[in-house]
């Protein structure tokens, strides 16, 4: 896991507190963000499309390839919305932050655009913590929720940062299922976050 995004965000916060940046500059960022999210969708699509091995794996697994990611996202959404109601978060914000599935950089940017800085902070902390817990508590997750549950908890991070920890705790035979699940959630995420924000 790269620490750069974290450092950049904190640097931004510190500069923001110092008050040296004019407010007008910040007002222009929203349309910029939308443009870049479109670019991001395009590039994620190309990245996924060019990966021949990924397509072969999905073909071999059949409909099973979609089971873990779909159940994982629905479970995150249910858990997130219920928790959100209990702690007093707007359902749209808790739903959108939950389907971020550990992909904290993009979820934070999208929630900033959709719902402002407070929602962005919620998205950042909750998704970063999910990624950190996946990397540190994987054996516990496997023991409590099983191998499928552990891959589901890893969410989008199952394709990269969490993959080595999943393999270590569940064995090599789960590596392909984990990778495919992580890719599918990552690809669906730029669409799911705004969709869930508007639906709930």
């Amino acid at each position: 896991m790269s620490i750069t995004p974290f450092i950049l965000l904190i640097t931004g916060v510190v500069i923001g507190i110092s008050g040296i940046v004019p407010g007008e500059l910040l007002d222009t960022t929203n349309s910029l963000i939308k443009g870049f999210v479109i670019l991001l969708c395009f590039v994620i699509g190309m990245d996924m499309g060019k990966d021949q091995k990924l397509w072969a794996n999905i073909r071999n697994m059949g409909h099973k390839a979609f089971l873990i990611p779909i159940v994982s996202v629905i479970g995150s959404l249910m858990g997130g919305i219920i928790t959100g109601i209990l702690v007093g978060l707007p359902p749209g914000v808790s739903a959108a932050a939950s389907v971020g599935s550990g992909y904290y950089s993009l979820t934070t940017i999208m929630l900033k655009q959709l719902a402002g800085p407070e929602a962005a902070t919620i998205a950042f902390i909750s998704n970063l913590l999910r990624e950190l817990l996946v990397m540190t508590a994987m054996p516990l997750f496997v023991a409590v929720f099983g191998k499928n549950g552990a891959i589901g908890i890893a969410g989008a991070t199952a394709m990269d940062t969490a993959l080595p920890f999943i393999i270590k705790s569940t064995g090599k035979q789960m590596a392909i299922a984990a990778f495919v699940s992580g890719v599918l959630i990552t690809v669906a995420m730029p669409v799911l976050v705004p969709l869930c924000y508007k639906l709930f």
Binding site: T4, L8, L9, G12, V13, V14, I15, G16, I17, S18, L26, L32, I38, L40, C41, F42, V43, I44, G45, M46, D47, M48, G49, K50, L67, V71, S72, G75, M78, G79, G80, T83, L89, S94, A97, S98, S101, S105, K112, G116, P117, E118, A120, T121, I122, F124, I125, S126, L129, L133, V144, F145, G146, K147, N148, G149, G152, I153, V187, V191
Partner: protein
């Protein structure tokens, strides 16, 4: 409306990638641009969080809610996978 545009570009990207006509050098280059874009945008999100008084003065309570939200998503996805897909 935005979501339809996102889906359209996602599908366009997948189709282009699947066609096998993209030179590897281009996709590697785009990856790097993308990384800088995300990093740059995060800096801006940070700027706004720092400028906006509401977040930092309430960071304790916001952080607490976010931590519980994280636990909720973990418990939710883990439990539903366990119930539907079994231990695996």
């Amino acid at each position: 409306m935005d979501i339809l545009i996102f889906i359209a570009f996602l599908l366009l990207g997948i189709t282009l990638g699947r066609s096998g006509k993209l030179p590897v050098t281009i996709t590697v280059y785009l990856d790097r641009i993308l990384m800088f874009v995300i990093y740059g945008l995060l800096l801006f999100v940070g700027l706004e969080v720092g400028t906006y008084r509401g977040v930092l003065s309430n960071i304790g309570i916001i952080g607490f809610k976010a931590v519980l939200l994280s636990m909720g998503t973990i418990a939710g996805s883990g439990t539903l996978c366990l119930l539907i897909l079994k231990k695996g």
